[in-house]
Amino acid sequence: MGNTGFFERKLRNAIRHILCTGRENFKIFLNAISSGVFENDRVEKLGIVDLIELFNLCSYVSKLRDQALLLFNRVKRFQDESGLWVDFSISRGFYKFLSDIGISISLTLDVLEGMLNLNLDKCVEFERGYKALLNLRSSTGLFKGAWRSIGSFGDLVFNFKFARLFRDIVPSERVSSIFNEVKGLFSPVSFKHILKRVSILRLLLPDYILAFNVDLEEAKIIFNEASDNFGIIKIVDSENHYVTLKFICSLMYKFKEVEYIVLREVRRLEKTKRRIIDVVGGLLGELGKHFRSYINRPLEKNDLLLEIFKLSLQSVFGTRFMDVCAFDVKLFADFIAKFGNRIESFSDFCEYLMKFTLKHVSKTTKRFRELGEVLWLSVHGARMHELLRACLKCFPHVNDDVVDVFAFYLFIYNIFDDFRPFVSNYSCPCTYDLIRVLYRIGIVSEPLSRGSNFFKRIRKEIHSLSRELFPKNPLMLYYISGIASKWCFENPQCIKVTRSSLVKCPFYDICAWRGVQENGF
């Protein structure tokens, strides 16, 4: 696969990742790319920095020009008396490495850039902002001390941006020296090394694309080098969605081809999300039956609880590892044998489990941190869902996913009447079955191995996706894993042959993976 294939895949990954886990302003922006309008309620809740970022991004997209003008009416209210836009309380992303001057320079430059894109350079606000920026420069005519601990490379970011925006006004010698410096940094010989070693210079990339005559092939190589596997650009070891989106916007501004890819991906994601909601709603009864069929004989409450516990371990670790988890099952069986008769409600269940954990599980467990948490919760009082999670996590092999699956089965079998109010506090469990389906329909990124950083990011994607699609009960997304055991096996049967008819997988027509298998990239 050449640069093009990687580039497109990374670009799609980045959009998907930001749409799932990004901040609200980025989600608004990406949604607006396809629809062309904002939801005003969502925009009203944004803070000043989020608003400025959104304004800046929108100014690059011709389709969102009207919306950007509306946003500007909000943004200009935040200009202070000196003419700058500032928010000193901001401490996320690369802003936390900026000094107070740096924050004001960065935000003001972003607003002025947006205004220039919208041809608002004759406004009063623009002039005031520009003059205020001039006053922030040192005697050499350059910005200095914008960063807290990062040296001259950091200051170059703002100087280059300022020179690019006001190329006509700044003395030409200075502009050419800054431009030459940046061009030297990103020369074909050194740019791979530079982008890997000095992550702060990735901030320059969007401006670099806009300032110089860069062709699409070169832009693709730069994006591939600067971003990680998820297509996200990292600044000082933390992923930065703003710079990533800005880079994508600058590409969209220059190359129509990129705009088309982005638009297609956003629309595809919207369609897939709508389909997931439809599938879960439509097949609720059928999928519910499927999950209930795991325990096909009628059982008493205590036995059912034990079976559910076994099932939840099994669905996370697989049947092969049940021998390893035998001790967990034994501990839970002991608990049921001791307290089973006294359990009548969910709160009883949690309280007795807490007592059992403190008295018996504590003798053998090596999960001291979780044990300490249970102790603290027992003394200070806790909500039941917190207690259940903390207690179960003291068992040797139980993790967050097992707890979530356990909660899912409690919900499905409806064992306790008072469990329903706590459902919204759990998150969707990330089992292999679920990930397989979601990955194949192209809504989460490619999974590698459990325990790696990739898996953490995929888990984050799934959690935020479940909260977005089913805010009242995120566990509902787990119904999708039922499709994995009906159609979407490791060797999938997208059309199932039954005696009466051929049954297609509900995601048959939108499945990206099936398309790849049949048609190639």
Partner: protein, 315 residues
């Protein structure tokens, strides 16, 4: 990398013997040195055990956390903190008042040190917990080791944990509380339990807890009937520096050492080789580190251990 002690290495064996002899011969001098250190903050055998315990805890925390920004006021600060704690223990309901207000009400001075917010909250909690411990302890001059272990572990699991009101603050210590709970459930009350219980106090880590036990058992000797064989040696920057210069370990800083790490285990192994009956005596090396083997100006001519020292022969 650690210098691996070969069992059959004759040179190492002789070095270990020499180290033992030197430290044992000067035991009186070393103990006097430590005694003098802690007497500066008002700790002596004439005071009851609870008073000494509270003061020593503050002293250890301040010493190990390098809070002696105000060097001159350091000793005065600790003695006033301990006085403050004792008065706090006698007052009726001190736990709802801020530290600064109480400090001013009781001692008529402002809090004599500027701390950052996190440290301030932790110190406040430490003072409150120690005040509670003080009010519960009997006013005896010495204590039985095992009964003290039992008392402090039960106290921390029962009342101590209630004082950790913030979950964020507690999260640092949840591991230690879990470990203490397990020891308590298994009915184990020995040196390990005491260390685990002390580590549940805010601002006290694996290093300061062991140093505190060293002061209580070896310098003050106010905890009786201990089996010193199971004890560990405290490891601080002085010990690490001396060992590094003598060639027992290579290129390690004290800040890099964590409890249970390989280097930690190796130093404990070395301590058991030197003093099999009482490994905590290995901490006597701190005297060498502070008096002779200083950071920038080592006095190699005066040091007793020059014959073992690799750096001495190199320079």
């Amino acid at each position: 990398m650690i210098y691996v002690l070969g069992e059959g290495s004759k040179k190492m064996a002789s070095n270990i013997t020499l180290l033992r002899i030197n430290l044992s011969d000067n035991e009186g001098l070393i103990l006097e040195f430590f005694d003098e250190k802690i007497s500066r903050v008002g700790v002596n055998k004439g005071r009851p055990f609870p008073d000494n315990f509270v003061t020593l805890t503050f002293y250890t925390v301040f010493e190990q956390k390098r809070l002696k920004v105000l060097e001159d006021e350091f000793c005065r600060l600790i003695s006033s903190l301990s006085d403050f704690t004792l008065r706090l223990a006698c007052s009726k309901d001190p736990f709802n008042v801020s530290l600064n207000e109480l400090y001013y009400d009781l001692l008529n001075i402002d809090f004599p040190c500027i701390l950052d917010e996190k440290l301030y909250v932790k110190l406040t909690l430490l003072i409150k917990i120690l005040a509670c411990i003080y009010s519960k302890l009997e006013k005896r001059y010495t204590f039985d080791f095992n009964s003290f272990c039992k008392f402090i572990s039960k106290f921390m699991l029962g009342e101590g944990i209630k004082l950790y009101s913030k979950y964020d603050l507690f999260k640092d210590k949840s591991y230690e509380f879990g470990r203490l709970l397990q020891l308590n459930v298994r009915n184990i009350y020995d040196y390990i339990t005491l260390i685990a219980a002390l580590k549940t106090l805010p601002l006290i880590d694996f290093k300061s807890s062991r140093i505190l036990v060293f002061y209580l058992t070896h310098v003050m000797r106010i905890l009786d009937e201990c089996n010193f064989k199971n004890f560990d040696t405290p490891i601080d920057s002085h010990i690490v520096r001396v060992l590094r210069r003598m060639g027992f370990i290579k290129h390690f800083r004290a800040s890099h050492i964590r409890e249970g790490s390989t280097i930690f285990k190796e130093i404990q192994y070395l301590a058991r080789q030197v003093f099999p009956e009482d490994p905590m005596k290995f901490y006597y090396l701190r005297y060498v580190g502070e008096v002779f083997c200083k950071v920038s100006t080592p006095k190699c001519d005066e040091c007793w251990l020059f014959s073992l020292c690799k750096t001495f022969f190199k320079t």
